[in-house]
Subunit: 366 residues, 2 copies
C-alpha cells in the first residue's frame, strides 16, 4: 500500500492505494472510532464488497447502518437523498456519524452529498470501487446530484476524511467501465504531465489487461496530480478548472443523450478529442499531438467521436453548463500534451468545426 | 443605521440594522456588482417588499430573477429546492450569482440552503423581514430544510455575504409573529446577558407597541450577542449550543403538533420555561429566577406551557432531535439569568417533572 496526502490545512486527508485494502480495519479505525457509521452503496456493489467492509467496521468496533440504493446515474436525485436521510434518522444517526461511500463515482457523489447535508454535515470516507472513482471523483471533495436541467447542478464541496482505493476491486469491473476510467487517467496526463501521458502510451495494454502493478501506478499518479491541483484551488476558482478537459463537450453529450446512455468517461473521451481539435483550430496544438490523443483514446477502446447530435444542440447544452459564466462557454484547451489552459474567448466557428471533426458521418452531413 | 461584524476570518460579514434600509442600493452594491441576482421570497412578503428590493438592485445595476415560493414552514422541502434550482438554471444563473433571501426565518433557511447547494454553492445576502429572522435565524449561517422525520434535518452551514435588517419592515408584521420573535430576543438575554434581560423586562411594552428605537436596540444587541457566539464556534461543536436554550423541548413541541401549528418562537418560549423548570430541578436555578422567565414570557404574550402531548411523546421526539448525541438528550440549562450551560446527564425524573410543570391541566392528569 502507498499513501499520499491532499494538503488542505485542517481538511487535509490521506489517500491510500493498495490491493485488498478495503477490508483493512486499521484504515477505517482512526476515522470511525467511538462513532457510528452509515455505509451507502448500491445493488451492484453490495454483493461484491459490502460484507468485507461490514467486517472491517465490526473489527474497528463500530455499529453500522447499511443503505443500498439502486445502481446507476439516475440514483443521483432528490428522492434518493430523502431515502438516505430518512434511513439514517430512523437509525438514530447523530452528527458524529461517519458516512462510508462504497462504490463508484455515482455513489461517491451521492453519499458525499448526503454526508454534506445530513444534519448540516457529517464526515465521510470514500471507498471507491471503480477506476473512474479511484483516479478522479473520490478525490477533491466534489459531491452532488443531478437536476432535470443538468448534471451535478446541485451539490457541495465536502472533503472526505480519507480515501481507501483498492485496486483489487477493479478485477470485478466490467471492461467498459475500466476503459471509461482510463479516460480520466489519460486526462490527467494530457492536462498536467507529459511523462505520465507517455507512460500511458507505453503501458496501456497492461492497464486494459488488469495488471495490478500498472493499475497501482496509474491510480497513484492520477491521485498525486489531482491532489496537487485540489490543494492549490479547492473550490475551482482558477487552476482546478483545467481538470475539466473534455467535460464541457462531455457534459453536452451526456445531457443530450440522457444521463447514463454513455458512461461519463466515454463522453469525456470524445470530449477530450473535441477539445484537442478545438485547440488545433485555435492555433495552440499541432496536428501530430491531436493524432496522439485520438490514437491513445482509440487504443483504450474509447469513443473518439460524439453521438449524432446536431451542432446547435451541443451549443445550447454547453451554454447552460455550470462551467459557463455570464453566458460565455468556457473550454479547457491544450497548449501541449501535458499542459492545459482555460479559455472563454474561442470563436464559434472553431467550436463548431471541432464538433464536426468528431461527428459521425451521418451527423456531419447535417 | 448601525453596523456590526460577524468575525469569521475570510467569511466575516457585516450586519446592518436600520430603518428603511432594505431599499438602500448602496448596501447591496458591494456584494452584487458585476453579477446576477436571484431574489427568493414568498407570496406574503413579495407584495410588501419585493418592489423596493427590485428597485435597489436595479439601481445597483444588477439583473435579477425573482422566485416566489409559497408561505409557511412546509415550503422547506425538497420540492421547493427543486423549483428554485430549476428556475435559476432556466434563467442561466451561474456560479457568480448572488441569492437574495427576502423574508422571514423560513425564507432565510430555504434560500440560504438553495445558495449553499446551487452548483456546489453561490453567495447570498440575508434581508430578514421578521423579528425572528432579524435577531436570530439570519445570523450565523445555519440553513436547511425539514425532513418528514424532523425539522432542519437537512442543511448546511453557509454564511451570508451580509445581513440587511430593516426594522421598518416589522411594522407590517402580525402581532403574533412579533411576539414569537421576542422569544428569541429573550433567549439571548437569558443565555448570555443579564443586563439585556433586565432591559427587556423594562422595555417590553415599547417592543410590543413597535417602538422603532426599542426594536433597533433589541435587534442590534441580539445580533451582537449571537455574532460573538458564532465567531467563537461557527459549527456548533461547543459554545454555540447554548443558543439552543428551549429548543430541545421546542422542537419536540413543533414536531409533535406538526410543523407550523405553533410558531417556532412560541414553541421556544414554552421550551425556555421548561428548560428553566429543568434547571430548577437540577439544582442550578432558584425559583425566583424561574418565575421571572415565566413572567416575561407571559407579558410578551407567549405560551408558558406546552401543548397537550403525552410526556412519553416528548421523550421520544427529543431522542431523535439532532442535538441528541449517541442516544443521550442534550439540554441547555440556566445557571443564572444570563448564564447557560449544556448538559446531557440530567435525570429522566427531572426532565419528566419539568415537562409536567409546564403541561396544561388535562395532559398533566394523564
Amino acid at each position: 500500500m502507498q499513501s499520499l496526502s491532499v494538503a488542505l490545512g485542517a481538511r487535509s486527508y490521506p489517500i491510500h492505494v493498495g490491493s485488498g485494502i478495503l477490508a483493512d480495519a486499521s484504515l477505517y479505525a482512526p476515522h470511525v472510532r467511538g462513532r457510528r457509521a452509515a455505509i451507502i452503496t448500491n445493488a451492484v456493489v453490495a454483493p461484491l464488497f459490502l460484507e468485507r467492509v461490514r467486517v472491517a467496521l465490526r473489527e474497528a468496533g463500530v455499529p453500522a447502518v447499511e443503505i443500498t440504493v439502486e445502481d446507476g446515474e439516475q440514483t443521483k436525485r432528490w428522492e434518493t437523498l430523502d431515502q438516505i436521510v430518512g434511513t439514517m434518522l430512523a437509525a438514530r444517526c447523530d452528527r458524529q456519524t461517519v458516512v462510508i461511500a462504497l462504490g463508484g463515482g455515482v455513489i461517491g457523489d451521492l453519499a458525499g452529498f448526503a454526508a454534506a447535508i445530513y444534519q448540516r454535515g457529517v464526515p465521510f470516507v470514500q471507498v471507491p470501487t471503480t477506476l473512474l472513482a479511484q483516479v478522479d471523483s473520490s478525490v477533491g471533495g466534489k459531491t452532488g446530484i443531478n437536476h432535470a436541467r443538468g448534471k451535478n447542478m446541485v451539490g457541495a464541496f465536502h472533503q472526505p476524511l480519507a480515501v481507501i482505493a483498492d485496486v483489487a476491486a477493479l478485477a470485478t469491473l466490467p471492461a467498459r467501465e475500466l476503459r471509461a476510467g482510463l479516460a480520466e487517467v489519460i486526462k490527467h496526463g494530457l492536462v498536467l504531465d507529459h511523462a505520465f501521458f507517455e507512460w500511458l502510451e507505453a503501458n496501456l495494454e497492461g492497464l486494459l489487461a488488469g495488471d495490478r502493478g500498472a493499475l497501482m501506478h496509474a491510480v497513484l499518479r492520477s491521485c498525486e496530480l489531482k491532489a496537487q491541483v485540489v490543494a492549490a484551488d479547492e473550490r475551482e476558482v482558477g487552476l482546478r478548472a483545467v481538470l475539466n478537459l473534455g467535460h464541457t463537450f462531455g457534459h453536452a453529450i451526456e445531457a443530450g443523450l440522457g444521463y447514463g446512455r454513455w458512461l461519463h468517461g466515454e463522453a469525456v473521451a470524445a470530449g477530450m478529442v473535441m477539445a484537442s481539435e478545438l485547440s488545433l483550430r485555435a492555433g495552440l496544438l499541432d496536428p501530430s499531438a491531436v493524432a496522439r490523443v485520438r490514437a491513445l483514446a482509440a487504443r483504450a477502446g474509447l469513443p473518439v467521436e460524439g453521438p449524432a447530435l446536431p451542432v446547435e444542440r451541443y451549443l445550447e447544452l454547453m451554454t447552460v453548463d455550470k462551467k459557463a459564466s455570464a453566458g460565455k462557454i468556457r473550454f479547457v484547451v491544450l497548449e501541449a500534451l501535458g499542459r492545459a489552459a482555460v479559455r472563454d474567448d474561442l470563436a464559434q466557428d472553431a467550436i463548431v468545426a471541432a464538433i464536426r471533426a468528431c461527428s459521425p458521418v451521418s451527423a456531419a452531413a447535417q
